[in-house]
Symmetry: C2
Subunit: 336 residues, 2 copies
């Protein structure tokens, strides 16, 4: 019986709770996974706990009604959970790429206390992945981050289990849906500004799109790829990064006239003993598996010793999807 | 320490032994997987065993020199292995789709004796998958068949672990490299006979190509997909099957004029309470992830509740690849 503590009860955290509540029976039958959620900590919705397990149905009803969670359990904080009341902390507070807080603090404290951590938070990953992985190892627990890379598309679990036994030589892919949507629209004739505005209207791009269009988001993911797939403790500043803001319709058209398509590709590879990580607009031949990946879809191609190239394609964003990424990590903890 | 017995020492079995010998150290370090190969049973190369473990290097050298294995251990048979000298039987004898023998007999006896079975043999799967799965369950062991579906591309392990927690609603894909190669060449202008001859020259197609071009091989895989992904105990005769022999260049061209591409698609889906399995030449829009899969590559698209569509693309044949499929199943046994 896993005791789960959830820190950050926004759309992603609630997405996980909804899946856990809806699939409680099938998770037990199919995977032998049983759980209680002993506490939820959120500065806006409220922080409540119950050593016997919170009533998830009541909690989700309160969240749907945008009501406070107060009264659904005793008032708690993270420390309450870390005093033996959680085996795993699900960290799902908002991403902060500047200093990683508050998520980084939560994750450090949880690992330090001997709890597993499952997290979708890119800030701590970008700033402190090698430190956090070492801390987890020293405590005999795991820090799992499936949702950080391709949202729900299980790129990390694929590499760790379904590709187990292979050596991964390089990994490249489309890891940012916003820029891929913009490039797809530019190929259809829009100019950069019009494509960006459309992405913003559809909710794919933020009001300040810098993190996406300058390649920062992709660079964090390249860093994760280097760490997780090639075992190299890179930081985000080690990533050679170029965004898409300089691309003109003429560049897209010139590639097309050569039978090629421009994609923003994040790539990590071993090269002369070192690991090189790049984010660059790249012309791909049309028959490359990544060339056909359009819109807000993400994809990664792994080059392996035993299998040559293996590609996974799937959704790159979404609330249910990110909740699923947290679930797949919880189920992986349950297997190991 | 896993005690492994290998039945059938052809290219696939040797492919596994080569990987095991080459990666012995890294398998222990990365996955905590340790093993000895206690016996090898093969009617042509010889059948030898050693309770302390065979010398794999000597065994591979003899195989490379096309020499007999006799003398590399004591003379044994399957029964010797099943008397407590193997935890897992790797069954890699040649496929026989008519009565499944000798593989079906080996697998029944191994499961009956309480050994796990890892196998790439399509005959027993086609004829007796529900029976063998029930037998394995009743004995508390596993019958794992990753290599049967997409050779080394880990479609089954992906669904069981990386997509854990999702409900799989349907699965469709390109599961036969020979027909996909022929269709790719026909799209480039060859007629059916010329494309088939080329596939035969390159070793993709057998001298008697019926199993591939009439869709029988794909139908066995559709049956596996129904059993493994949708939990429905179909037999191969339940699969609605149509091959590619009737296709004319004009059909391919007509599809192309509509912006579509013809692929031989194996599909399983829930439909009104039942599971429907089909193998049919299908016109796909060019932006479908499966439309870009050309030549001898295989691919599957899973439609799931939490993630929508997830696609995996990878090699559909090859000796190293199939050895890797056996390895990934051995490593999965080691995790569970």
């Amino acid at each position: 019986m896993w005791k789960i503590g959830l820190i950050g009860c926004g759309n992603v955290g609630l997405g996980l709770l909804r899946i856990l509540e809806a699939k409680k029976e099938s998770l037990r039958e199919r995977y032998g996974f049983t759980f209680t959620v002993t506490g939820v900590v959120d500065p806006f919705r409220g922080s409540v706990g119950n050593e016997e397990g919170l009533d998830l149905k009541a909690l989700l009803e309160a969240a749907d009604a945008k009501a406070s969670l107060d009264g659904l359990g005793e008032a708690i904080d993270l420390d309450w959970l870390l005093q033996g009341r959680a085996d795993v902390i699900v960290e799902a507070t908002p991403t902060n790429l500047h200093d990683g807080m508050p998520g980084l603090g939560h994750i450090r404290r949880a690992l330090e206390a001997g709890c597993h951590v499952v997290s979708t938070n890119k800030g701590p990953v970008s700033l402190a992945l090698p430190e956090l992985e070492a801390l987890a190892r020293s405590k005999g627990v795991q820090y799992r981050i499936e949702g950080v890379l391709l949202s729900g598309t299980p790129a990390i679990n694929l590499a760790q289990e379904a590709l187990a036994g292979c050596d991964i030589l390089s990994v490249q892919g489309i890891v940012n849906g916003t820029t891929n949507f913009i490039l797809t629209r530019m190929e259809e004739g829009a100019d950069y500004q019009a494509a960006l505005s459309e992405a913003q209207e559809l909710g794919y791009a933020e009001t300040d799109p810098t993190a996406d269009v300058e390649g920062w988001d992709a660079a964090v993911k390249a860093q994760v790829m280097a760490n997780v797939f090639l075992g190299e403790a890179l930081t985000v500043s080690d990533v050679d990064r170029q965004g898409i803001t300089h691309l003109k319709p003429a560049d897209i058209e010139a590639a097309r006239s050569r039978g090629r398509r421009v994609k923003l590709i994040a790539k990590v590879e071993r090269s002369g003993g070192a690991v090189r990580a790049t984010v660059t607009p790249t012309e791909l031949p049309l028959d490359h598996p990544l060339a056909g990946v359009s819109g807000a879809v993400n994809a990664l191609t792994y080059e392996t010793d035993h299998l040559g190239e293996v590609t996974i394609i799937g959704p790159g964003a979404g609330r249910v999807e990110t909740g699923q990424a947290l679930l797949v990590d919880l189920l992986a903890l349950n297997r190991h």
